[in-house]
Each structure stands twice: as structure tokens, then as C-alpha cells.
């Protein structure tokens, strides 16, 4: 595919589009086209952001949300990859849990909130649990299909060269061959984790979500926007770090 623009030109156009959007937003508020009590003034956001940092609130809520996120994404990814790989490699396990998976899969993570509260109380563990559910399924299906798609010829090579034991085939064929797909699932899970982190905190667990609920109760829309942008920024940062790591792990792909 040929790129119609140079990279510089694309960056410039992207920046222009974003600036235009913010300018129109600001202008419509100032001209009274939008009601000021429903939407914050963009130019007020930086000051509100600095105030949140100055109060120490920003660090506090971001670090507790990051803890929920890290635990939820970590547990969900590890279990999801393990279950997905096992399902792809072990026919008996696959057949045994197929119906169970079909039953549990469509239940949205947020539907687990009642159980999260009953089992964990209003604790960070409850938030991490809810986050882990969505992440689990993404990783489960990505790993399952990635391992299933591995060329059986590689397995024959392993057997022809004395690597017929399950552990050897797992570490020498299945996992490295499926790595691009497994990492793709991991990346999608990193994004999905942010989707649920806010919702998981809405029922009183300290974090970004709770702070946003508080602010909206006071119609402090500027604070809400500060945290929306915080999530966007954190997501972009994590995704960038992950892409770097992925590029290193998949150096071999042509």
C-alpha cells in the first residue's frame, strides 16, 4: 500500500484536527451555543489538572486505579493464556469445559459486581476481580485460536528431532509459534482493562472511577474531563511500552 501523505504531513493533519475540535468546543461555550453547566471550558482543564495534582488527589486515585488495573490485568492475562493454550492442546480439557465456557463467556464483567462485593467486599480485590474477567476472555480466545492455528508441520519437525515430550513441544513449538496471536490478545486485554477499571470503582472502591462519580455529583465536569484524559494518557503510555516489548519479542517476524 502506498502512503498518500508523508509522515510529517499526517502528524500535522492529526494535530490540526484535534486543535480544531478543541477550538470549536471552546468557541461554542463562549458564544453560549453550549450550556456551561453541562460541558467544561477546555481552557480551564489545565488549571483544574494542576489543582488535582497539587492536592495530591490525582496521585492517590491514579495509583489505586493502577493497582486494581495491574492485578486485574495480570491475573486475567495469565489465567486466560493458560486456559486458552490448554484448551487448544488438550482435547479432553477442551471438550470438558467447552459448554461451561460457552455459558460464562457472554456474561459481561460488570454483571459480576454483585458477586465481587459478596466475595471481596468493597475492596481493591473486588475491582481487580471485575477487571480480570474481561481480560481473561480476551486472552483465552486469542491464545486458543493462535495455538490452534500453528502449522502442524512444526509439530512433526519437533517429533522428528526428538522433542516429543509435551513440555518440549509446548515451549519449543506451541508457545513461540503462537506468540504473535497471544501477544495480540495481551494487548487487547491491556485496553479492555481500562474499559472496566472505571466501572469497577463506581460502587465505592477508591480510584479514578470513584473520583469521577464524586465530581459528577457536584457537576464538576472539568474534573471528570481531567480523569478522562488521564485514562487516555495512561492507555497510550501502556500501549506504547507494550508495542516496544512486542517488537522485541517478535523480531523474527518478516
Amino acid at each position: 500500500m502506498t502512503e498518500p501523505f508523508s509522515r510529517l504531513r499526517r502528524t500535522a493533519l492529526g494535530a490540526f484536527g484535534l486543535t480544531l475540535f478543541v477550538a470549536l468546543w471552546e468557541l461554542s461555550l463562549r458564544l453560549g451555543l453550549l450550556p456551561g453547566n453541562l460541558v467544561p471550558l477546555p481552557s480551564s482543564i489545565p488549571a483544574v489538572f494542576m489543582a488535582e495534582i497539587g492536592d495530591g488527589i490525582w496521585w492517590e486515585v491514579v495509583s489505586s486505579s493502577l493497582t486494581h488495573y495491574a492485578v486485574g490485568v495480570g491475573v486475567g492475562s495469565v489465567l486466560g493464556i493458560a486456559a486458552g493454550v490448554a484448551a487448544a492442546l488438550l482435547p479432553v480439557f477442551n471438550a470438558t469445559h467447552a459448554w461451561l465456557a460457552r455459558l460464562l463467556r457472554p456474561i459481561p464483567p460488570l454483571a459480576w459486581i454483585p458477586f465481587a462485593i459478596i466475595w471481596f467486599g468493597i475492596t481493591p480485590g473486588a475491582a481487580a476481580f471485575i477487571i480480570s474477567i474481561g481480560v481473561f476472555w480476551i486472552n483465552y480466545f486469542a491464545s486458543y485460536s493462535a495455538v490452534r492455528a500453528v502449522d502442524p508441520g512444526f509439530d512433526e519437525v519437533a517429533r522428528a528431532f526428538g522433542q516429543q515430550r509435551f513440555a518440549a513441544r509446548l515451549t519449543k513449538v506451541s508457545l513461540p509459534a503462537a506468540a504473535p496471536g497471544i501477544l495480540g490478545g495481551l494487548r487487547a486485554g491491556l485496553g479492555q482493562g481500562w474499559m472496566t477499571v472505571v466501572a469497577a470503582e463506581l460502587f465505592g472502591i477508591p480510584g479514578i472511577g470513584q473520583r469521577m462519580m464524586e465530581a459528577s455529583g457536584l457537576l464538576a465536569t472539568d474534573i471528570v474531563v481531567v480523569y478522562m484524559l488521564t485514562i487516555a494518557g495512561l492507555y497510550a503510555l501502556f500501549d506504547l511500552i507494550f508495542l516496544r516489548l512486542q517488537g522485541r519479542l517478535l523480531r523474527w517476524t518478516p
Binding site: F154, E156, A158, F161, G162, Q163, A177, P254
Partner: protein
């Protein structure tokens, strides 16, 4: 066959019968192969050449019969190895690590494995490619790595499953020549499956022709012939064309539906 009692046979198969779901596709294969011997298995497509190769090495269980590879337990070696039709290198391993695959699990140190991988790589002329990724090599180079990987385990029997059929004509010619050279540097007996009769006559000491699989009857060995030509410059000998024609006639006869068994 008297050759079955050959005392120095490294590969011995007796009354081998192969098939799927209990239905035989190939029956009554006997084979005995000595060290450094080269047998080519030819036959029409679908006759079961690749299946036979996999049964001889034990990758596929036969319906009946036995196959045995004589292998004194020499540390750091394997009884057999295989070169596949597609190179089938692991794209996530560098070339040297690909060649080391069969050496893993043999109790060799990392340094020893690397040394044992570099030697066959040098033999196929690719030692300066050791740290490259497979995707950066040409098809012919990749197949050379496949050969090096098979030689690294110092096998008693080397199985080759149409190893050159996916290559272009020029590369194929070159690799055929290299295999003739390589034979003099290895003790391995070679079992070589090909559908290319010229290639069989060019490379093999003995040619095993499979056929006779008409009207649902399983295939069998319809002839085994000794090539009896000098190893070098075979293509230039007047007998070369005659041998090719003989094998062609056998295959043609073997696949004729009206042929008497």
C-alpha cells in the same frame, strides 16, 4: 529376500503394511539398508511414498510389520533424522538455533550444541548465516539449513521427503550436486522419496518402485533395481537415460489398470 539377513543393516523393515483406519494403502514392504547406502523410493503420486517414509522412521505406526533402526547408543546422536519437502525451519529461531533443535535434550552443553551446529552449517556453506533469521534466507538456503539440521544429530539413517521438489530447477540441480558431495562425508544411510525419476537415478544406489494400486488394491513394491553407475557425473553416462526409461516403464506398468498382478 536374502538381503534381509544382512548383518550390517542399519535400517531393517519386514513385511511392513501401512494404511489409514485399518485399510491398507501399501503392503508387504521389505527393506534392508546398510550404512552409507542410498535408496530412492519412487512411484506415482498417492502411492504412499511419504507415508512409507514416516513408517520407516517410526513417526507413523504401521498396520502390520516391523521396522528397526540399529543404533548403538552413541552420546549426542540420534538414530535418524529427516529433511522435509518444505524446509520447515522455526521462524522464531535463528539459523544456528534451528540446527541445534535435535541436539537439545541429549545432555550436551550449550557451547557443545553450538559447535555441533556450526559444523554441518559449514558443510552446506552457510556458516556465515548462523545468526540470521530464517525469513531472510532464500528457499534454497533454507533447505540447506534443513539438511544441516538433519546432519547435526549424526544420524544412522537420514530420511529425505522430496527435499528438492519445491525448489526452482537451477537450485535443485545445485543441491543435488551438493548432496552427492555430502554423501562422502557422512556414514548415514539415506532413504530418499522423490517423484522425479531423473533425480532418483542421479542420486541413488538402489531404487524402490512402488505401484500396483489399482481398483482399490493396496500398492506394493513392484521392483527394486540397482542403479550401478559411478557416483560422479552420472548424467553424462549413456546408461543414465536407459535407467530412467526402465524406471519409467515400471511405474507406467504399475499404474496401468489392466496390469496383471
Amino acid at each position: 529376500m536374502d538381503s534381509l539377513t544382512l548383518p550390517k543393516a542399519v535400517l531393517e523393515a519386514r513385511d511392513l503394511s501401512l494404511g489409514f483406519a485399518g485399510r491398507p494403502v501399501l503392503e508387504g514392504v521389505d527393506l534392508a539398508l546398510a550404512s552409507q547406502e542410498f535408496v530412492a523410493i519412487v512411484g506415482a503420486s498417492g502411492v504412499g511414498k511419504s507415508t512409507l517414509l514416516r513408517a520407516l522412521c517410526g513417526l507413523l505406526p504401521p498396520l502390520a510389520g516391523t521396522t528397526r533402526i540399529r543404533h548403538e547408543t552413541v552420546a549426542g546422536t540420534r538414530p535418524w533424522s529427516m529433511v522435509f519437502q518444505a524446509p520447515r525451519l522455526f521462524p522464531w529461531r535463528r539459523i544456528a538455533a534451528n540446527v541445534e533443535l535435535g541436539l537439545e535434550g541429549l545432555g550436551l552443553s550449550r557451547a557443545e550444541r553450538r559447535r555441533r551446529a556450526l559444523a554441518p552449517l559449514a558443510l552446506v556453506g552457510l556458516n556465515d548465516m548462523a545468526m540470521r533469521w530464517p525469513s531472510t534466507l532464500s528457499g534454497g538456503q533454507q533447505q540447506r539449513v534443513g539438511i544441516a539440521r538433519a546432519l547435526a544429530v549424526e544420524p544412522r539413517v537420514l530420511f529425505m521427503d522430496e527435499p528438492f521438489s519445491a525448489l526452482d530447477a537451477i537450485t535443485r540441480r545445485r543441491l543435488q550436486g551438493e548432496l552427492i558431495e555430502l554423501r562422502q562425508r557422512t556414514d548415514a544411510a539415506i532413504v530418499f522419496v522423490t517423484h522425479d525419476i531423473d533425480e532418483a537415478v542421479l542420486l541413488a544406489d538402489r531404487i524402490m518402485v512402488l505401484g500396483g494400486h489399482d481398483a482399490g488394491a493396496p500398492a506394493r513394491v513392484i521392483a527394486t533395481l540397482e542403479v550401478n553407475l559411478p557416483m560422479q557425473d552420472r548424467r553424462d553416462t549413456p546408461a543414465f537415460a536407459e535407467r530412467v526409461q526402465r524406471v519409467e516403464a515400471l511405474i507406467g506398468a504399475g499404474t496401468e489398470p489392466s496390469e496383471d498382478p
